[in-house]
């Protein structure tokens, strides 16, 4: 009898501890959920949606441009010289098509109606009459940052 009782009791206490452990898991679970909820999310691209990271300066040769995706307002960063970088809106001022950088001619071309701009955003030919908006550029330790 005692043996049985003993075994029963053992199994019973094992079960009790198991269930207690099991139930106890709710606590770290709840704590974990709350903690990860409360962890502030990184506001990388949230910023003022106004700061665009446009890659590194060293990977942009002089005279070339880089197209940077940014939602509905992509930009070009053009390295005008060793130390100068120009950031232009990549949206055509005619009918808002997305522009393309023409490497050979160093101009910006619009596929919709054949508009062309020079590397400073001034309209050269075709329908566009207004220059491309320019944005402030900052180079922080080789990182190009555009402020729209």
């Amino acid at each position: 009898m005692k043996d049985e009782e003993g075994t029963d009791l053992e199994r019973r206490s094992a079960l009790i501890w198991l269930s207690r452990g099991f139930l106890a898991l709710w606590v770290p679970a709840a704590a974990g959920v709350s903690a990860s909820f409360l962890k502030a999310p990184s506001t990388e691209h949230r910023p003022g949606e106004r700061t665009i990271h446009a890659g590194t300066l060293s990977s942009l040769p002089v005279g070339e441009a880089r197209f940077v995706h940014h939602g509905n307002d992509p930009v070009f960063v053009i390295r005008a010289s060793d130390t100068q970088v120009v950031a232009l809106s990549a949206i055509c001022t005619h009918m808002r098509c997305v522009l393309r950088w023409e490497k050979e001619s160093g101009t910006i071309h619009c596929p919709c109606h054949d508009g062309t701009f020079d590397r400073n955003g001034n309209p050269l030919s075709g329908p566009p009459k207004r220059a491309l908006p320019q944005f402030g550029v900052e180079v922080r330790a080789d990182d190009i940052v555009v402020h729209t």
């Binding site: 099991f22 005619h94 997305v98 329908p127």
Partner: protein
């Protein structure tokens, strides 16, 4: 705008009345020799000499002419000739200072210039480079006009064609950048349309279509007249203004190519150019219409080739291939669009996907001029780019949306855990109930 046709008789009537009335009133002497009885038109075949030497002070106003011709004076004073000091006598001769009709209509009075002589009359100043350069105006209008369809027909004796005054007005001549001017951009279709849109005119000349109505219904007309796109063409941009001539069969691409450069270059390199010229087809206008310019809708793309080609031709196969490439890319983009909309509703951050789809759409847009080359090898990279961008966006979004399915799996696991907890609690409860009794 009152009909141009009614002006000459009105003016003649006005002149007649104006001259007859004071004549009756003052019992004037008949005009001196050199002038016929007032009111008759005088034929002038030699352009008159300019009455104001350059550098002279311009006349201030219409002087005495306006006393009798007051309604004309009102119109004249709204125009640019007044502000630039071109007096009545410059075109009509006579003496602007005389207070008598005899005097006014005396020496050198030309009356109402003959219609045929009007271009030459206007050209007497406007074709003179020395005179026009002060105003920075071109001086080739007359030369162009003489080469134009209007000018050539006028030379043959057809006086029903447009002469200077029909478009620019007679006395109320405004600058082209004046919105009230008849040659102001947006008013031009109406000005040309006065004749070219007139059903009688078209019947007389055996023309079927109403070019003005067609233009207004086409993409150029809609874009231009709505003010949405001032760089879209109106009549003169394609036909020329003074040298107006419809482009001939082999020249249409030159006209359209003024703006649609890339398209033109691809077209020239394609077999269509020679084939269409030989067949007498008006190049661009054969598919896109001349006045009612339209884009060929994607679903009708291959069909439209059947107007010249047969279903079994290898050309039609090319058409089908091109059509399929574009439709595939378009379909991929639409699919990706739907996924973006679904994701945005959750909401997920979709701006990056949207901008990539814009890239895809741009690539597809670029395929349009290249299609004119009829070369699938040239078109393929563009449609492939569009398709692959859209496909990748769809893939990535699918992954993100699939994770929502995991939420439901998570719910299932949660319930499993919950039920297990409930079982444990129930057993504890039963034990407690057993001990104490309910």
């Amino acid at each position: 705008m009152s009909g141009l046709r009614q002006w000459p008789p009105t003016i003649a009537l006005a002149l007649a009345l104006a001259i007859a009335a004071p004549r009756a009133a003052f019992a004037q002497e008949p005009p001196a020799a050199g002038g016929d009885a007032a009111g008759t038109r005088r034929e002038e075949s030699v352009p008159p000499a300019r009455s104001i030497p350059p550098g002279a002070k311009p006349a201030k106003h219409s002087k005495m002419c306006g006393v009798c011709h007051s309604d004309i004076r009102v119109k004249y004073e709204k125009g640019v000739h007044k502000s630039e000091g071109v007096p009545c006598t410059s075109c009509h001769g006579g003496d602007a200072n005389s207070i008598t009709v005899a005097g006014a209509h005396g020496a050198g009075f030309r009356g109402k210039p003959a219609r045929k002589s009007i271009p030459a009359l206007c050209a007497s100043c406007h074709a003179d480079v020395a005179k026009m350069r002060f105003y920075n105006l071109p001086s080739d209008q007359y030369a162009l006009y003489q080469l134009s369809y209007h000018g050539m027909r006028l030379a043959k004796g057809d006086e029903s064609v447009a002469v200077c005054i029909d478009c620019h007005g007679v006395h109320e001549i405004r600058k082209p950048d004046d919105p009230q001017s008849r040659v102001f951009g947006r008013n031009i279709p109406g000005t040309c349309g006065h004749c070219h849109g007139d059903p009688d005119f078209r019947r007389r000349h055996g023309l079927k279509d109403d070019p003005v109505k067609d233009y207004e219904a086409g993409v150029h007309g809609k874009a231009y007249l709505s003010g949405q796109d001032p760089s879209a063409p109106e009549c003169t941009r394609c036909h020329g203004s003074h040298g107006a001539t419809p482009p001939g069969v082999g020249d249409v691409e030159k006209v359209c190519g003024q703006c649609h450069l890339k398209t033109r270059n691809y077209f020239l390199a394609s077999p269509h150019k020679d084939a269409m010229d030989q067949a007498g087809q008006p190049e661009c206008a054969a598919c896109h219409n001349s006045h009612k310019t339209v884009a060929v809708p994607p679903e009708k793309f291959a069909e439209s080739c059947l107007e010249c080609h047969d279903k079994g031709d290898k050309e039609y196969k090319v058409a089908l291939a091109l059509s399929r490439m574009k439709d595939d890319a378009s379909a991929q983009i639409d699919k990706a669009d739907k996924l973006v909309a679904e994701a945005a509703a959750i909401p997920l951050y979709v701006e990056d996907y949207r901008s990539r789809l814009q890239d895809a759409r741009t690539a597809l847009l670029e395929a349009a001029p290249v299609t004119h080359s009829l070369d699938t090898l040239l078109v393929e990279p563009h449609t492939r780019r569009a398709r692959s961008i859209a496909a990748r966006v769809s893939e990535e979004l699918h992954e993100k949306l699939a994770s929502r399915w995991w939420n439901k799996v998570g719910l299932g696991l949660f319930w499993f855990y919950l039920l297990l907890t409930a079982v444990i609690v129930t057993r504890a409860r039963r034990r407690a109930a057993g001990e104490r009794g309910r």
